[in-house]
Structures are given as structure tokens and as C-alpha cells.
């Protein structure tokens, strides 16, 4: 039985730009345009790339009582300091489950009188249900279904976007702002999923095409598909939910301890009190049994997801969770989980590709330096 796919609001624009549409997370999405993944990737690193990420879930949490009560309620779902996020600032978060695994990763922002959340497309209905089940006493959980989401990423993103909306130039990495464009409010954050400086912009559906076309009219901007979005985030060492993190991986194993602020750790002001706290706090104290690491295959052969990894003496030590070719790196790169003893830079391992064990080295991430405007 054929699965019914949702169409993006910009579907016709993608098709007219020559986008090759493929099913992804229940949507028909452009995987690439005629330029191809390699050129789209390199263009984003050198100029500015426009991504349609309208498949992602946008949610507003509007407090029924105080903002503080909502922030504290939100903290019961994540090992993250929500209360400490200042107005106008955004933070990375993750919903954990009772066994310390990850239900989804997300971005949330303090917008003064409410919290704005962006979640992954594949998880959005589950996330909404999860928030409704746990936050409804403290917040109205509102799915935003009348806005699209665009990302403009790359070193020239600021120049291109500031021509339309001058106010964005003053924003710093992880700032959020509501700024007007031709009479409508755009919800803007200075963040993204490529390792580059850039913005994510939530636009009312009725103006989405006009705004996207205004961006594409800028000389720096080229449309970028999901293929390059994946190679860009891989080079930046960023996790892809359902691959590098899932319900079995803890945030500590995933190397996301930077997302667990001091307030939520042992001895912190609001230590624990999130699902899976026992495992997560224990792993923070003792170290996890396995860790997410960067991997650099030595030859040219990419090591794709599920490539088994072995120590030099042939013992299985883990597997690749994302892997491919890094256009800016100029060679194959991968992310995977390995046993703790091997989770150190320069550790030599082997990955089994088509029956052959090929050398691969544990490497620092990101593979390509990030250029966030802090």
C-alpha cells in the first residue's frame, strides 16, 4: 500500500527549480537540485544555501500560569537547564526516556512570554503527544501548522538576509528575534544544522513562497537539498536523530554532555528530575561504556551506516551510525559508537566494507571547522 506523502508548501517552487523529490519523514522533499549534492554542499560552505525545512515541527508552549512554572515543567522532560535561558536566546535540548535514551533532539527558545520549540519531522506527532501529556497543566501546547521553516546557511547568509531584514545582522549565534518583513512577522534564530553561520526563519504559509523567492533572488543564495544538508551536518559532527541518536543511546554516550548544564547535574541547583536521570547521572560520573566518535576511513571508500567496527585484534567494538563522503573534507568521514577503550582520537580500528576490513581512525569532530558567529 502506498504511503500518503505530505507536500511542502513550496512543492511547486522546488519542482520548478529542478528539485529531485524523494520521500523523507512522510514528506516529498527535494534531495538535490540540478547542481548536485557536491556543488550544493560547497556553495553552502562558500556563500549561502537555502534549505526548506518546513517538514520540521514548530510548537509553541504558552504558559497557563507563570513562565517559570512552564520552564520547570519543561525541565522534567529534558536534562537541560530551561530556566536559565535568557529571553531572546535559544538552546539545544533533548527529550529523554525512562531508560536514559533519547526520544528526540530539538531547539527551544525563550520568547519572553512563551517557549518556541522546533522538533524533528519524523518525531513531531510523538513529541506533541509527549508535551501534551506532560505539560498541559502548565502550558497550552500549540502545534504551529500555518508556517513554513527555511534555513539560510553559509558565510554570506548574513549579507543576503540583512538586505531583506537589516535587523538580523545584530543577532549572535543562538539569538532569536521576531522581525518584520513586508508586513509579516518572521520568527528568526541565528542557528542551523550545517556548522556554518546562518539563520532559521519561520514564515507564515501565505508569504512563504514570496519570501523564499526574495532570498533566491539574492546573488549569494542557491537552493540546497537534503543530500547536502546531510553531508554538511555530518562534516559538522552533528547528530541525525534515528541514526546517531535514538531511544537506546544516552546523551552521555552520544557526547552531548555539553547540552546537560551544571544546574541539572549532580550537585546542581535542580539536579536530576528528568526521565532516565539515574543512568545519565551515573554515566556522567563514571563514563559511559561506549561513546559516539568521529571516524576517518584511511582509503577513499566511504563507511556507511551499520558498517561494523573492529579493534586491530579483530574484536567487535562498535558500528558506524552515519557515514559518507565529506565534500569539504575531500574524503570519507563517519560517525559511530565504539567501546570506551577505543574512544580516543587517533585510535586505529578497522571497518568491514563489503567483506574487507579497512583501516579507520578515531578522529575529533567537527571534521570541518564551524563558523558560528558567537
Amino acid at each position: 500500500m502506498a504511503e500518503e506523502l505530505f507536500r511542502l508548501g513550496l512543492h511547486d517552487l522546488h519542482v520548478s527549480l529542478g528539485g529531485k523529490m524523494v520521500p523523507f519523514a512522510g514528506y516529498e522533499m527535494p534531495v538535490q537540485y540540478p547542481a548536485g549534492v557536491m556543488k550544493e554542499h560547497l556553495h553552502t560552505r562558500s556563500a549561502a544555501g537555502l534549505f526548506d525545512v518546513s517538514h520540521m515541527g514548530q510548537v509553541i508552549l504558552r504558559p497557563r500560569g507563570s513562565y517559570e512554572a512552564l520552564a520547570l515543567a519543561f525541565e522534567t522532560l529534558m536534562p537541560v537547564d530551561v530556566l536559565g535561558v535568557a529571553e531572546g536566546r535559544q538552546r539545544y535540548g533533548l527529550f529523554t526516556n525512562e531508560t536514559g535514551g533519547i526520544l528526540d533532539d530539538l531547539m527551544f527558545a525563550n520568547r519572553g512570554d512563551h517557549i518556541f520549540v522546533v522538533v524533528n519531522a519524523a518525531c513531531k506527532s510523538a513529541d506533541l503527544a509527549h508535551m501534551q501529556a506532560h505539560l498541559s497543566d502548565d502550558a497550552e501546547v500549540i502545534a504551529v501548522t500555518d508556517r513554513g521553516l527555511l534555513a539560510l546557511q553559509g558565510p554570506l547568509a548574513e549579507a543576503a538576509l540583512a538586505r531583506l531584514i537589516p535587523g538580523v545582522a545584530a543577532m549572535r549565534f543562538m539569538d532569536v528575534a521576531i522581525l518584520p518583513w513586508q508586513g509579516v512577522d518572521l520568527w528568526i534564530s541565528r542557528s542551523g544544522y550545517t556548522g556554518e553561520d546562518g539563520y532559521e526563519i519561520s514564515v507564515p504559509d501565505a508569504r512563504l513562497r514570496g519570501f523564499a523567492e526574495a532570498l533566491l533572488d539574492q546573488p549569494e543564495v542557491m537552493p540546497i537539498g537534503l543530500g547536502a544538508r546531510d553531508s554538511l551536518r555530518l562534516e559538522a559532527g552533528l547528530c541525525l536523530y534515528g541514526h546517531d541518536i535514538d531511544t537506546t543511546t544516552s546523551p552521555v554516550e552520544a557526547g552531548l554532555t555539553w547540552a546537560i548544564q551544571k544546574a541539572r547535574r549532580a550537585g546542581g541547583a535542580r539536579a536530576g528530575g528528568f526521565p532516565g536521570a539515574a543512568r545519565i547521572l551515573q554515566e556522567l560520573a563514571d563514563g559511559p561504556d561506549r561513546k559516539r566518535v568521529g571516524l576517518r576511513p584511511e582509503g577513499r571508500a566511504p563507511m556507511r551506516e551499520h558498517t561494523d567496527l573492529f579493534s586491530p585484534d579483530g574484536t567487535p567494538v562498535g558500528e558506524v551510525t552515519s557515514g559518507g563522503f565529506g565534500p569539504s573534507v575531500g574524503g570519507p568521514i563517519a560517525i559511530g559508537y565504539v567501546a570506551r577503550a577505543f574512544a580516543t582520537p587517533d585510535a586505529g580500528l578497522e571497518g568491514e566494507v563489503r567483506g574487507k576490513r579497512l583501516p579507520v581512525t578515531v578522529a575529533d569532530m567537527p571534521f570541518h571547522p564551524t563558523t558560528y558567529k558567537r
Binding site: V31, Q32, G36, V37, M38, H41, G227, D230, S231, R300, A301, P302, R304, G324, F325, P327, P332, R354
Partner: protein, 119 residues
């Protein structure tokens, strides 16, 4: 030039057949980043996986179009896989294969038939 349903082209060159992939296949694969070639003197049967070709997003195989023996491989592809996107039917040949009976080529598609297939 003859064509297979697996989007390979075959060109007779003396007593061997030169094999590559069509422009249609190269475009569908996207930017090629890795190629693994068979060893010279390998004896192959039709349908054997003889080459690996990986683009930025995915890996695929090239199958031996006929029974025969690999006589030469294009090692330039190993160092410069993007040649497949630049010149798929020329410089980016993959291997040469010696076959016993050239008449088996008659069963393959000619250009018109191949264009109908991808049309």
C-alpha cells in the same frame, strides 16, 4: 555502442569489449566519490558484481554484462572518480573484457532501444 538494462554501455575494440556506464546512469548516481575496480585477469560471469561505485549519497554495483575475462581496468577512475560524471561514455570507461563469442552482443540493446528504455 550496445547497452544493457543495467545502464552499461559496451564498445567493441579489437578482440575485447570496453564497458562503462551511461550518461543517464551517471546523472542518476550523482557525484561519484569512490570506485573499486576488479583485478585484471579475473574471470567473470554475466551478472557478477565486478565494480563498486559510490556517489555522495549511496553505493551501487556494476555487474559483468557478459561472461569473459577482465583484460584491463581504468585505474584513472580510482584517483579521479568524478571522471564518471564528466565523461561517462569516453574517458570514464571501467574495464575491458575478452569474450569468446562476439555474437552475444547482438542480443543487447542498440542506442534507439536504450533511449526507449530510459525515455
Amino acid at each position: 555502442m550496445k547497452y544493457t538494462k543495467d545502464h552499461e554501455w559496451l564498445r567493441v575494440e579489437g578482440d575485447v569489449v570496453v564497458v562503462g556506464i551511461t550518461e543517464h546512469a551517471a546523472t542518476a548516481l550523482g557525484d561519484v566519490v569512490f570506485i573499486e575496480l576488479p583485478e585484471v585477469e579475473t574471470v567473470v560471469a554475466e551478472g557478477d558484481e565486478v565494480c563498486v561505485i559510490e556517489s555522495v549519497k549511496a553505493a551501487s554495483d556494476i555487474l559483468a554484462p557478459l561472461d569473459g575475462e577482465i583484460t584491463e581496468i581504468n585505474t584513472k577512475l580510482v584517483d579521479n572518480p568524478s571522471l564518471v560524471n564528466e565523461d561517462p561514455t569516453g574517458a570514464a570507461w571501467f574495464f575491458k573484457i575478452r569474450i569468446d563469442d562476439m555474437s552475444v552482443l547482438d542480443a543487447l540493446m542498440d542506442e534507439d532501444e536504450y533511449n526507449d528504455l530510459i525515455g
